[in-house]
Every structure is written in structure tokens, then in C-alpha cells.
């Protein structure tokens, strides 16, 4: 098993947001997480990636057999955890090229490897830019600065492709994408999918799941998973909305 989250409780400013969350992900799997606004999907992503201010009051996050809740965010990242942000951040004056080289070399240093040779780096950039259909015009610009919503999301997938994580969380990467961009993003993810990695895809729209076909769909409500199923569950949600889920939770 790659990731096993056990009875996770997470508070922000003393307010409990995740209330006993459980999830296990095996190598090679894609899990989709759906659920109404404010139920704690992004909080889950923050807890997995180690963001400050998200206090784990109890529970465990076992990744590759180790509880990672005390590891720094950069260590988790270098261990292969990647987050495609719901709201990517602008870093003025830092080109994507420079940002990616810094990130790749940080990982290599962590693995005890020498910095990536310039030629190899550029080759990899070209290859991955093709994968998500972004232009050099964009990679020469500062990270996310003045990017359109769609460009920001493509840039997240581009970075994921560059860093080749073992476990990636995509937090609403499909929001704000036109249909062509959606296909590009999905193709990018599908190209990276293998038996050596796994994905958790957070989304509100079952449309994405037409392109990234998940092995499991989970519905989150009020800080925990209230229903799990196959791809069909997403269709059902689209049809009926979340109300019946809420009932489900109450009746449980």
C-alpha cells in the first residue's frame, strides 16, 4: 500500500475540519474525491502535504510504510508527494525554468545525487512542455504571474510531469478549464499513470472522470468519507446532487 490515512482529525485555529478521515490508496490506483464546498477536501490535501496551521490532533498518515505527520513539507515533497494546488501562487521574478531547476535539484540533493546537467534538464523541459501543450513563452515567464486560470492549472500539471511524483493530489485541477484544456490536463495525468504511482483527484465535476477514469470514487461530507464506490457513483452524484448523501450520513 502506498498511502494509508487512519482516523485523521485535523483542526484549523482550534476548529475541527477533518473528523475521522480514512483512506487507503494502492500503487497504480486513481481515487476521486467529491463533496460539497467546505467539507474539507483541500484541508485533506494540506494535511497530507504538511502545511503549517493544519493541526493533526489525532490519527496517522502512513506513506510508504512510515507515518509522515512530523515531516517538513519539503521532505514530504522530496519523498514523492505532489500537490496540484486549487489556487496556484504567483512568485514574481522567478521563471518557471528557474523554479523547476531549483526544485529538481533539491530533490536530487535529497536523494544524494548531483545537480541535473543543463542539457538533460532542457530536454526534459521540452518533453514535458509537449505533454501538457504549453509554450516556451509561458515557461520563461515568472511562476503563475499574470497567468490565466487555465494556464495556472496547466502549469501545475507541467510541474507534476517534471517532478514525477509517486503520489499526487490534484485539487480541482479541472475547475476553470475549457474543454480542450481539460483534455490536455487529463492526457497529461494519464500519460504519467503507472504501476509505480497513484493519484487522488479532487473534483466537483464528473466530466473530468470521463477523461481520467478513477478506480474509486469517494464522497466527502463534513470532514469524512461518507460513501465510496466505483465510477458510477460520480454519475449518480451528478444526477441527484449531494442531498441524499447528507441523509445517508445522518442515517448511518
Amino acid at each position: 500500500m502506498l498511502l494509508n490515512i487512519k482516523d485523521l482529525h485535523v483542526s484549523i485555529h482550534g476548529k475541527e475540519i477533518l473528523k475521522g478521515f480514512n483512506l487507503s490508496v494502492n500503487y497504480g490506483e486513481v481515487h476521486a474525491i467529491m463533496g460539497p464546498n467546505g467539507t474539507g477536501k483541500s484541508t485533506l490535501a494540506a494535511a497530507i502535504t504538511g502545511r503549517e496551521g493544519y493541526e493533526i490532533t489525532s490519527g496517522e498518515i502512513i506513506y510508504k510504510g512510515k507515518n509522515i505527520i512530523d515531516l517538513a513539507p519539503d521532505v514530504r515533497a522530496n519523498e514523492g508527494i505532489f500537490l496540484s494546488f486549487q489556487y496556484p501562487v504567483e512568485i514574481p521574478g522567478v521563471s518557471i525554468t528557474n523554479f523547476m531547476r531549483t526544485a529538481l535539484n533539491a530533490k536530487r540533493e535529497f536523494m544524494g545525487e548531483a545537480p541535473i546537467p543543463a542539457g538533460e534538464f532542457l530536454k526534459r523541459m521540452e518533453e514535458k512542455k509537449k505533454l501538457v501543450d504549453i509554450q516556451s513563452k509561458l515557461t520563461n515567464r515568472s511562476v503563475n504571474e499574470g497567468f490565466s486560470g487555465g494556464e495556472k492549472k496547466k502549469n501545475e500539471i507541467f510541474q507534476m510531469a517534471m517532478l514525477e511524483p509517486t503520489f499526487a493530489v490534484l485539487d480541482e485541477t479541472d475547475s476553470g478549464l475549457d474543454i480542450d484544456a481539460l483534455k490536455v490536463v487529463a492526457n497529461g495525468v494519464n500519460a504519467l499513470r503507472s504501476e509505480d504511482n497513484a493519484f487522488v483527484v479532487i473534483t466537483h465535476y464528473q466530466r473530468l472522470l470521463d477523461y481520467i477514469v478513477p478506480d474509486f470514487v469517494h464522497v466527502m461530507y463534513d470532514g469524512r468519507i461518507v460513501k465510496s464506490g466505483g465510477k458510477g457513483l460520480a454519475l449518480e452524484l451528478e444526477e441527484k446532487g449531494y442531498d441524499w448523501i447528507k441523509d445517508y450520513d445522518v442515517n448511518r
Partner: protein
Amino acid sequence: MKEEKENENILEEVTSSEYKYGFVTDIETETAPMGLTEDTVKFISKKKNEPEWLLEYRLKAYRYWLTIEEPDWALLNHPPINYQDIIYYAAPKQKEVKESLDEVDPELLDTFNKLGISLDEQKMLTGVAVDAVIDSVSVKTTFQDTLAKHGIIFCSFSEAVQNHPELVKKYLGTVVPHTDNFFAALNSAVFSDGSFCYIPKGVRCPIELSTYFRINAANTGQFERTLLVADEGSYVSYLEGCTAPQRDENQLHAAIVEIITFDDAEVKYSTVQNWYPGDKNGVGGIYNFVTKRGLCKGKNSKISWTQVETGSAITWKYPSCTLLGDNSIGEFYSVAVTNNMQQADTGTKMIHIGKNTKSTIISKGISAGKSNNSYRGLVRVSKKADNARNFSQCDSLLLGDKCGAHTFPYIKNNNRSSVVEHEATTSKISEDQLFYCQQRGIDTEKSIGLIVNGYAKEVLNKLPMEFAVEAQKLLAITLEGSVG
């Protein structure tokens, strides 16, 4: 009451007259007695075998200095400086030669390594005997040969006084008069040495000039004097300082830099200042009070100042341009970083006198720890400066909430056809930015380095290439441990 006053007078007399009796005029001694009197000034001038006019110049400055007070308008706090507690002249000391790098402070070496300074350079900077790998004297000689071919004069200030007295006499004090300010007066009285540079008409200096390549560059001391003259149609890029940490026993530094450009001449002056900032509590750091000014005397001439200020406990520095020639251009690009207890009050003055003169000011202040970082800038447009243009952008970046950033822009526009624009922003490194970088595997300190360098990029891009690369690393190192 009266008795008390009398006691005070006696006390003062006793303490302040100490030197009268202790003064040794023997010019064989290598060090002036502590304190500053007319005799000290004469001693320095005599030691340097200076012509009468230069001694007169020094004395005039000294007498003026006696009549004025140290300025207190800057946002700086330091214990009062006792000007009688300073030795104003010491012959350049032979640096103690060490056998190997093993004898050098490991912390210093660590910084050198992070900066990527080569082993040989490290040895030179720390006074370790250099073996046959690079013969620095021969490098410098080739360098001097190249300059001589173009008729460029580049030598120590003392040499210039001996070998080109007419040039020194003609230009010394014409941009920064000894009456300019307290520290300028002090420097004019007691300056020890520095650099002199003259670029003849129509010559484009083929190499970047750095004091590193000047023969006799050893120990210019705490009162450095630089004079740079670019004759018609000439160009030079001049580098001052280095990114390696500079230690000095002298706490007070008061330098003067004067630049003059004639018609169509251009001077690019780049500085990296990394004097010892003191320990975490600010103890032992350098006080750096600098007067730098350029005069765009000729039409279409241009002076640009680029500075990266990371060192010193106190920085008081306003590289300025007087735009006298029509169509002349002044530029100021600055990154000033303060950490721990450091204080910086820095900025520029752009004085528009000629028609169609243009100036650009880009200032990036970065404060961390408990430091204070102020931008202070004056843009003055005189009545005759038709169509003058100024654009100023002053940004402050805060790391943490115990540091301060302040902006003091003074604008005096006396010409209706002129446009002065000022923009200012203050921002913090956001937790979002930091986390975004960390999530990509970059540790906290490298993340800060990355974000800060991005923030300062506009200015760093103005530096000559190798300088820029080192300056980037320097910024990151200066801010180490600032967030934790």
C-alpha cells in the same frame, strides 16, 4: 551650580587636551596618534608627500568639519561616535600570511564555498600564501597594459596625486564639495587612499574595471576616496567591492565617490557592499557613511548606480546624480537587505537641471529579523529643466513582523512641463508563496532565497554577469536563519 559647571570645564579640558601633549610629529612613525587635530591632517598629508594645495584642501575641509554637527535626520540609531577615539592614519599593514586554509575561520570558508568562490580566490581573500597557480601580479600587469594601450588611467588615488596632479586638482571636490555634509568634510580632511580613473575622449573601456585589478590595492582604509572622470564619448563599467564578507577592525567608514561624465559619456558604477554587520545583536558591525555622487556635466551623458547592500551594521548612503547636461540620464538601482539588528537608510537624489533629462529609480528594500530598512530619495526638478522625466519605484519586502520598512520620497518639481512619477509598495513574503515552494521540495531557506531573488530581479539584472550570480547567492546567505 557654578561650581559644577567649572568642574565640567576642567574635566573637558583635561580629556580633550590629552593629545596636545602626546602628539608625536616624527614622520618616521607609521601610525598617527589617536584623535583628530590639524596636526593629524598635516601628518597624513606629509606621509603621503602631497603637494601644498592638497594639504590646503584637507585643512579647509577639517576646519569646516569642526563647525558642523553629525547629521541626525536618518532613521538610524547608534551610540555616539567619538571622533577623538579613532586612528586616522595607519600605513598599510602587511597582512599576516597564513600557511594554508586550515588556519582560516571555518565559518568564513563556509560562506566562501556557498558563494562558489574558487580556492585560489579564497586564499587571496584570507591572506593565505598563493602558490604558482595564478600569479596575481602578472594578471594585474597584463590588465594594466591593456588599459595603457587605450590611454586609460586607473591607479590608486595617492599615485594619481603624484603622477597626474593636474587632473586630480581639476576635479577633486567638484562633485562632492568638502562642505557637502559632515562625513564628506571628514573624508576630505583625512582620506587615506582610494582609486582614480580617467577615460579619455572616445574610449570605450574594453574591460570591467574593478579595484581588484589595481596594483597597490591593499588596504585603502576607512576613509576611501574615488574619483572617476569619463571624457567626451567614453564609456566605462566600474565594479566596487566584492561579495565575500569583509571584515575590518575600523568601525567607522566614510567614503566619497565622485563621478563626472562629459558629453555623450557613460559610466556604470556597480557596488556590492558586504561589510561585517556585527553579530546577531549588532555588536562589532561596521558603520558605513558614504557620499557618492555623479555629475552628468555633458549633454547626452549617463550615469547609472547599481548597488547591492547586504553588509554593515549601519548603512547611510545616497548615490546621486546631478543632471546638468541637456538630455542626460541618471539611474539608480538598489537592493538593500537588512537582517538581525542591521539598519540601512539609503536611497538617491536625482537633481534635474538640464532640459529633457531623465531619471529612473528602482529601489528594493528587504528587511528581516529586527532590522530597519529605509528608502530616502529626493527628486528635484529645477525651473529650467523642461520636459524632465522621473520614474521612481520603491518596494519593500518584509520577512517576519519584528522588522521595519520605511519610505521617504521627497519630490520638488519646479517645472510645469516635467513629469515625476512615484510608486511604492510594501509586501510580505506570504506563507502561501513559501508553502508553494516547499511543496515542490525546496527547503525554507532556499525558498526564501528564491522568492527574494525574484523580487530583486529587476535590479540584479543590471549587474555585470558574474557579479549578478554571486549577488544572488549573497542575498540568500544574508537571509539565512531569518525565518524559523
